[in-house]
Each structure stands twice: as C-alpha cells, then as structure tokens.
C-alpha cells in the first residue's frame, strides 16, 4: 500500500484534507458529511448528486456528478440539492407528432438564446442546446438521439436563463419518437397473440412436470443459439 496522499478541498467554504484520487462524494464522507439528499445510485445513473465547484484561480463554475468526479486540489464545492422543475402532463397516445407538440408543451424553448449554458452544465456531455434547437424544429428523432444519455439531474434547467426544462422536454420527445417512429417489431406483436392463444402452454407444462434429473438432462442438452446461424 502506498502512503496516503492528501489534497485540500473546500466544502461550502470550509477546508478539509482528503485523500487524493477519490470521488467528491467519497471525499465529503471522509470529511465527515453524511448524505441524506445528494446521494443516490452512486454510479452515475440517477442524477441525485449534481455538484458545482470552482477551482482556485479560475472564474468558471464547473459541473459534475459527485459520485463520478475525482477531487482536485483547491476545489471549492457546493452540492446542489435536486430541484424539481415543472413538467407538462400529457397523454402519450393523444399527442399529435405532426403538430409541434414540444413547443406547445414547453413554449419556453422559443426563448432559447443559444447561450449554450445548458450544454456546459451537462455532466453527461450531451449537446443540450442542439437538442433544444431540434425541438424547435419538431425534429423528434434528433432530440431522441442527442438526449439519450440524459440522467435527468436537472443541472441544465437550473442554469438556463430562459427557464427551459430541458430534461422534461427531451423525455417527452423520446417517448413520442418511440411510439411514432420506432414501432414495436412485428414478431413481438405476433408472439403476444400466440401467448394469448396459449400456444406455449403445453411446452411449459411439460417442463414443469419433469423430475429434477430430467430437467438437468434437458439443461445439459441445450443447444446454444449462435448469432447469424439457424439452430
């Protein structure tokens, strides 16, 4: 084991010496904080731990997920509790994608001044401003593709001078894109009908009535499907 190297960070103004090479979240716990808010999945998927910081000698505000970003010497940290943003309720199957429903539900997108602050705030490196522009054009596919990695931490909406609720907007766009332009494959629809008719009941019942030895035998004889090859 190597000697533990310490680095100094500031949490809401107070200095703490913490081990180098650990995440902001682990560093704050090392310093003595116990999270109630601001910690969720601890793996970068839930968006609970949005954090802002400045570094000594740098005027810029930086954004990160506390569970993913490593501490650096001289970081001045503040955790931003998740702030709910208003969203527009909708009935998915009643939306008309031909109309610009995104603009109707989120008229604030028309106020986008293309300042790109949302994009800079995104810890997932999403081109947020670009998808807002795509939303203005009603280009659902583009919004869905650009926004796909969104974990809905809400930092974009917190920073936006036009009060756009980007992550709610893109959620609606992805769902609408899915039902209008990426339909269910025919084989699933067919399988649903077969299941409804009980087409697979006999095979399953037979399996369920087997003895343990018969099951083990059947398992050992399984043929493993290979990509691109018929069984």
């Amino acid at each position: 084991m190597t000697e533990e190297k310490l680095t100094q960070i500031f949490v809401m103004g107070k200095a703490y010496d913490v081990p180098a090479g650990i995440t902001i979240m682990d560093a704050m716990e090392y310093a003595g904080y116990r999270f109630v808010r601001g910690a969720g999945c601890r793996s970068g998927f839930c968006g609970a731990c949005g954090t802002v910081y400045r570094k000594d000698g740098d005027y810029r505000l930086e954004f990160a997920l506390a569970c993913q970003e490593m501490v650096e010497e001289g970081m001045h940290l503040t955790q931003i509790p998740f702030t709910p943003a208003p969203r527009s309720d909708y009935q998915l199957n009643e939306l008309d994608a031909a109309e610009n429903v995104l603009l109707q539900h989120y008229p604030a997108i028309a106020r986008c001044v293309s300042c790109n602050t949302c994009t800079k705030a995104c810890p997932q490196d999403i081109e947020v401003m670009d998808y807002v522009q795509a939303a203005l054009r009603g280009d659902l596919k583009r919004v869905a593709e650009l926004s796909f990695d969104c974990i809905q931490c809400g930092l974009c909406a917190m920073r936006c001078p036009a009060d756009i609720k980007h992550y709610h907007l893109s959620q609606m766009a992805r769902r609408l894109y899915s039902v209008t332009e990426s339909p269910e494959p025919a084989h699933l629809t067919a399988r649903m009908a077969e299941l409804g008719d009980g087409a697979y009941d006999a095979e399953l019942d037979e399996m369920m009535s087997m003895t343990l030895d018969q099951l083990k035998q059947r398992y050992a004889e399984r043929v493993i499907e290979k990509e691109g090859e018929a069984l």
Partner: protein
C-alpha cells in the same frame, strides 16, 4: 498508438500494468481467431463454486435464532439486522389518528414500486388513492443502474419454456417454479407495455438487437444501449407523473402496521429531514423496497444504490413473512477493480455479450465469458487467488482484464462507443479509453437472490401485504441470470400492483397497531440478543471513523 500521460500514468494505467496490457494485446489476434474457452460442464461448475464462490464459505453465515424463518441461513451482516431491535419505541407512537389514509400504499421508489403503482391505477384505483413513499428520490434505485438488458422470449427459435429452463439451470433448480413460469410467460407482455409507453429499445432495421446473457441458450436480451435500466425507469417514472400518482420522497418506512387480526394496515414512516414520524393507514400495502447490497457482505464493494439496506425484509419479517434463499448473494463477475475511485461499480455483462472476454496477467483467456454469474465470478476469483494470475492494483486489490477492445475488433469500430456509451464514459472520466485498452475487473456485490416469500400474484403470508422486485425471493433461486432482474421488477411489480388493487377495493383497513413489534421484541429478548443492535438501517454510514469518534450530539 499514442497514450495521454497524466500523473505518471499512461492512458490511465501505471507502467507495471502496461507490461501486462502489452501481453493482452499480443495474444488478442490469436484469441479472436480461436474463440473463448468452452463452457463448463455441470461438474466443473460445481467444483469452482464449491472452492471459490463466497456463498459457499460456511463460516460466513449463520442460522437465524428468531422469527418465522428461524433456522434460515444467511450472511452474518444480514442476520445482524434480522436479529435486531426496532429503531422505534411503539409506546411513544400515536396510531389513533393516522396522518394519511389511502387505498394502496407502495413502499419504495424504484422500478417495482413504480410499476405496481401504475398497474394498481389501471386496475381501477384512482391516482389520488395510491401513495408511493421512498427513502431517497423517486428513481434513486438499483433499477435505474441496470445496464445490460432485459430478457424476454419474444421470437423464434425461443419460447417461454426455453427461458424457463435457462432460469432454473442458472438458479441450480432451487427457484420456485410457479414464479419462474410467471416471469417467463409475462416477458413479452412487459416488453410490449414498454413499447406502448414509448421506451426506446435498440433496434436495427426495425427489429430488436437481441443478444445472449450469461447462461442463456437463446439471444433474448433487449437493451437500450447500456442505459437499459435508466431508459425503463425514466419512462415509467414519467408515466407515474403523467397519471398523477402522489410520491413522497425522503420518508422511508421503518415498520409495517398490522390490524388486530394480523392483516396489513399501512406503515409507519420517518421524515428524514424533520425527524417526525408519519402514520399511514392503507387498505393494501406493497413492499417494493429492494435489496441489501449496502450491507457489504464479506467486505465486498457493491454496485448498489445508497439506500439498499434491507429495510423491507426486516419490516416484513417482524410482521410474520418468511424469507427464503437468503444465504445466496449475487456477486457480479465484473465490478471495477481499477481505478480505486470507482471500485466496485458495475462493468456490465453486456461488455461480455458483445465479445469482451476475461484475460489474466499473462494475456491468457481462462473462462467462457458467459457462464451464469456465480460461476463466472468464482472463476475470476480462482484466477486471482488460486492460480495467482491476477493483476494487483496500487491499492492492493486483485483483478483480471476484461478485454474490451475485442468488441470493436469483432463488430467494427465505433460499436463499443455506441452500444456501451455509459461504460465508455465511466472509464474515460479516469483517463482510460476502453476501446483501446482493457479494463480491470473483479466480482462486486450486486444482487439479493433471495427475499420475502411470495406467490405468483405477489401475495405474502400477511393478508393485504404484497411484494415484488428484489425484496422478494424465489424467482431466481440461488443465482439470478443477467436481464432477469429488470424483467422481475416489471412482472412482479405489475402482479403485486394488481393484487393490491383487488384487495384494497374489497377490504377497508382496520385500526393499525404495532403489537407485532412488541411480540418480536419479546422473542429477541428470550433469544438473548444484544439490545444495542437496531434495525432497519435506513442508510449506511461512510463517515470517517476519526470524525465519528469526536462527534458530539449537542443540538437536540
């Protein structure tokens, strides 16, 4: 190829690891040509499990001394919570005028809870008569972190029966057959539901991109890049919001409430911020509180979310619900072993189903990449500690390489970044490009295979109490396959929600009591349990010991 140099590291790795990476690179072309080692026989599986899987160490678990599953084996860390006193004193709780009355109370804020809420509503319970309560936020859960995919037998040459066989064999034939039948039969139904909700599964030319998982005999893994769990969770959560089902966050349940006749009558909640208790009286209660990863069984790091502390198991047990297969813990074969900052976080099985194989320090492959998870994990532990062919990290942890550059070598450049965007980003944040270099991995605590006993409708032994998702046992037996947990929470969340709705319409809740807590406390005392032990845990404590040692409780 050029490597960025930062902090004495090249491309994120120290020099001594680079020597081993060079060996991995040197053998890659031949390994790609030869294919991975063959899958193990049943006897080979058994041998590696017995010798190397953490579950098979007898001294790491004990038999419970109290409660409805007295004698049930479980890890010490879990037994310590089952054999523990309540965190509340029933005498100081005023149950006479409940703060909230509702028809269906859902404990939890993850996948199973959200699905149960939506289907209770579909079954005719008005949105305002359903209440979801959760310890963290709605969606801060394990469901949101699932990466690789969801199984469903939805096309030829697959069938629910073949899926059934895969599940049983993977679970060592210890699963409850009725629950497995429900799981596999409802698979296509749930995918169809997701499509109607507007979830975006990976498709090529309008057809699903379906792959294998460890232990599957058909390609039935549906994915949404490596954000499958997040895509499903955010769509389902969005629908819960559209429907208008109320959700209260940061109010975990600390005990269930039962009426005089022993039927479920709601729950006692705790506001984490104001520290008040809240009494909820409900006709039906759904337990969807997830698993126990944050108990760090046998000292393992975990992929699990911050709140995975087994609370629901403890509450249900005190209310009289049996638990099963609690001795069985899923260690995901590939957790991050390096860098230490993200130790134990998940390296999805999808990396392996897309072609990456485990490789040792000499650049040799040593195991079929898609064994069932317990077998794969045991083989990796054996390679590190039996064959001594692991790579030791600067912090003293051993791991093996997961040869991720094989993915683009097999499927074409750009495949990894498009199909495994989350994985690429996770390592790139630490200067490692997994399209160029392999990743270092070791098993990590991932899933609670067992749980509370339910039937195929999600009913527990306590009338009016239902359960689904990771909190429930029996579906996966002693070992779950990849892609069956997302399916599990959908299938049994739905069934529990429907059953709860039916119950709630037919049965009005009676006056709630905490008498079962008094009875359980008496049992603990008779068994001689140390009174300082308390549960549920609610949240783990990761503050540094030196801080805790100096802590004063001055503000009251």
């Amino acid at each position: 190829m050029s490597q960025a140099t930062a902090g004495g590291l090249k491309g994120g790795y120290p020099d001594y690891m680079r020597e081993s990476i060079a060996k991995v690179e040197a053998t890659r072309a031949q390994r790609l040509k030869d294919g991975s080692p063959k899958a193990m026989t049943a006897d080979q599986r058994e041998e590696v499990l017995q010798a190397w899987h953490p579950d098979y160490k007898a001294d790491k678990k004990r038999a419970l001394s109290v409660g409805p599953s007295k004698g049930e084996l479980m890890p010490h860390e879990v037994a310590d919570l089952f054999e523990a006193y309540p965190v509340i004193d029933p005498k100081v709780i005023d149950l006479s005028s409940p703060d909230i009355e509702t028809q269906v109370l859902i404990l939890g804020g993850g996948g199973a809870a959200s699905v149960a809420a939506l289907f209770a509503h579909e079954e005719g319970i008005p949105a305002e008569d359903i209440l979801m309560i959760t310890k963290l936020r709605h969606g801060d859960c394990n469901s949101v972190m699932a990466q690789g995919g969801i199984q469903a037998a939805d096309r030829a040459p697959d069938s629910p029966a073949i899926h059934y066989l895969d599940v049983l064999g993977g679970g060592h034939y210890t699963n409850n057959p009725d629950l497995v039948k429900a799981l596999v039969n409802d698979g296509p139904l749930m995918i169809d539901w997701h499509e109607k909700l507007g979830a975006l599964y990976d498709k090529v030319d309008g057809e699903y991109l379906e792959a294998h998982g460890g232990g599957t005999s058909r390609m039935r893994m549906h994915s949404a890049k490596d954000y499958t769990g997040m895509e499903l969770m955010r769509v389902i959560r969005d629908e819960v919001r559209n429907v208008g089902i109320p959700v209260i966050e940061f109010v975990p349940a600390v005990e269930l409430l039962l009426d005089e006749g022993g039927r479920a009558a709601g729950a006692l909640l705790y506001n984490l911020e104001t520290e008040e208790y809240i009494v909820v009286k409900a006709n039906a209660t759904v337990l969807a509180t997830g698993g126990f990863g944050r108990l760090h069984i046998q000292g393992f790091p975990t992929t699990n979310h911050y709140g995975a502390t087994a609370d629901g198991l403890i509450m249900a047990y005190r209310a009289g619900v049996r638990v099963i297969d609690m001795d069985s813990v899923q260690y995901h074969p590939t957790g991050v072993a390096y860098p230490a900052a993200i130790l134990g976080q998940l390296a999805t099985e999808k990396l392996r189903n897309q072609g990456a194989e485990p490789v040792n320090i000499e650049g040799e492959s040593f195991v079929y990449p898609l064994e069932p998870r317990d077998v794969e994990a045991a083989a990796i532990i054996r390679e590190c500690y039996g064959h001594e062919k692991g790579i030791t990290t600067p912090s003293g942890i051993r791991g093996v390489w997961l040869d991720t550059p094989m993915i683009d070598a097999i499927h074409g450049k750009g495949t990894l970044k498009s199909r495994l965007a989350a994985m690429w980003m996770m390592w790139s944040r630490h200067g490692i490009d997994i399209t160029v270099d392999p990743a270092l991995v070791f098993p990590t605590l991932h899933y609670q295979n067992g749980g509370v006993e339910i039937d195929a409708n999600g009913c527990t032994a306590v009338p009016g109490l239902f359960a689904g998702g990771e909190v429930a046992g029996g579906v996966h037996g002693k070992n779950r396959l990849m892609g069956n947990s997302l399916l599990d929470y959908n299938v049994f969340g739905r069934r529990a929600g429907i059953a709860a709705a039916h119950w709630a319409k037919a049965n009005a809740a009676k006056a709630p009591t905490l008498k079962h807590i008094d009875a359980f406390t008496d049992d603990l005392t008779s068994a001689g349990i140390e009174p300082s032990r308390k549960a549920p845990m609610i949240l783990p404590n990761y503050r540094r010991e030196e801080v805790l040692d100096r802590r004063l409780e001055i503000l009251t």
